[in-house]
Symmetry: C2
Subunit: 308 residues, 2 copies
Amino acid sequence: MRKIVIGAAQMGPNQKADSRETIVARMLALLEEAAGAGCTMVVYPELALTTFFPRWYMEDQAEVDCWFETEMPNAATQPLFDRARELRVAISFGYAELTPDGHHFNTQILTDRDGNIVAKYRKVHLPGHSEYDNERAFQHLEKRYFEPGDLGFPVWRTQDAVVGMLICNDRRWPESYRVMGLQGVELVILGYNTPSVNSQNSAEGEDKRLYHSELSMTAGAYQNATWVVGVAKAGDEDGHPLMGGSIIVDPNGYVVARAKTNGDELLVHECDMDLSVFGKETIFDFARHRRIEHYGLITSQTGVVRKV
Amino acid sequence: MRKIVIGAAQMGPNQKADSRETIVARMLALLEEAAGAGCTMVVYPELALTTFFPRWYMEDQAEVDCWFETEMPNAATQPLFDRARELRVAISFGYAELTPDGHHFNTQILTDRDGNIVAKYRKVHLPGHSEYDNERAFQHLEKRYFEPGDLGFPVWRTQDAVVGMLICNDRRWPESYRVMGLQGVELVILGYNTPSVNSQNSAEGEDKRLYHSELSMTAGAYQNATWVVGVAKAGDEDGHPLMGGSIIVDPNGYVVARAKTNGDELLVHECDMDLSVFGKETIFDFARHRRIEHYGLITSQTGVVRKV
């Protein structure tokens, strides 16, 4: 058995006016709780250090850049890294990354148990739009503020497991999980900020959106025989509700832990990486069963082409 | 609205000793019921005309070939085609196909409302194994008796909808749905014969297998914004139980009709093809959101390659 006790550290809302220091203090409290519960890895949500700023339309790039981090760790997050090292707990969280050469990404990092960043992922599937959209109930400007990730879907070995990361909308795309599955992924950790209402369909509320989120993660887990840990930032951010629904999913696609609130809340589960072996060796033994000669459109064609 | 009233014609077990004529008589009864309910399309399961013979190990090819059809329609199925034409109901069912040049496929056909075969699909993802396996509680010799389908995942326009087909194990592979999704599929019809117990893990019983079946179909529906109609052959075939669980899934991934028995049972639902439009134009607008530059492994690599 290769067990990792994982803490899924759901976070409540971050208001626009909240300082990063205030937010990191909440992350530290979750870290202490996780260490007390025996966790060796804690996963926080997407854009953990700020509000979900892509809901706000901005034209001044300097204003936009205030939501980004130019280095990691930095002054605000150093206490989190320091305490994680002391507690020997690996941490993973999302933030807006501004690179030295001026690129903007929606990024997630993972450390080892000594507080060293050992893995970085940049969100590939940016939802939403890039210009102000009058048709929407609220804005979702990820395509305006971020570039699509340029690192693909890598995996890393840490804590004796093959680990990959996704961010938010990536979890709805089976391609995301499959590219990692083809590299033997055993644990996918991801964070999300998902509005409780569809900006383009006010009738689509939280129940439906929670269902779609869970459906995507459970299917990705089952079809690649991997653990999936999905962690929300939830609750009301300056009048804009985000759904919760953080879950830990086993390699059979079963939810083994589920958040009950829309606030700061820690889920803990002892995840045995060896549970992924049976699926990978039988029904999802890719080498025996996949037929790539018939999958060509998946990589040759981006959008729908209707021929009938 | 583009509505098709679809009948999912789950079938109870076919015993080895049952003649095709006896079985077709049951299919005719389901057809009459469907026509009475206003259906214009009826979907029967995989290998509808016979027992699930791949559970039996055979070495004599002449014995194997007795389970195959060399033409379609043929004498046994002509009454079904004739009555379907009279009732103006399109039919789709699975059977073992032996081609004039000696190839063996696990095949499904679809007719128009005039009884003409307008579409043929050959199962791509064959599960199981090709040689007798002492380790299993029972045999699953699809890889012995069939070749993988050679037609890919085409779609056809019929009854003003874009329709594709899958067979059984194909439904567990997100690639199957995606290749059709990239062609604009609005309705996926599929049949299955799924043992109630995992031959390689006796602890994995019907509840778990029903969950995995439904999870795969609901995810495929949601992630491609398509209807999915999954139809079982169920019940005890010569001592070997097959699970039921036939369902009709809408393009939001919700089950709108579900079989209650393991016998001959008709599900009917009026399926509006236009329900697929919202998903295809928003969150799953592939042209805007897919990032094929990061999907390369899906088509370049069949099995897992571990680098970490």
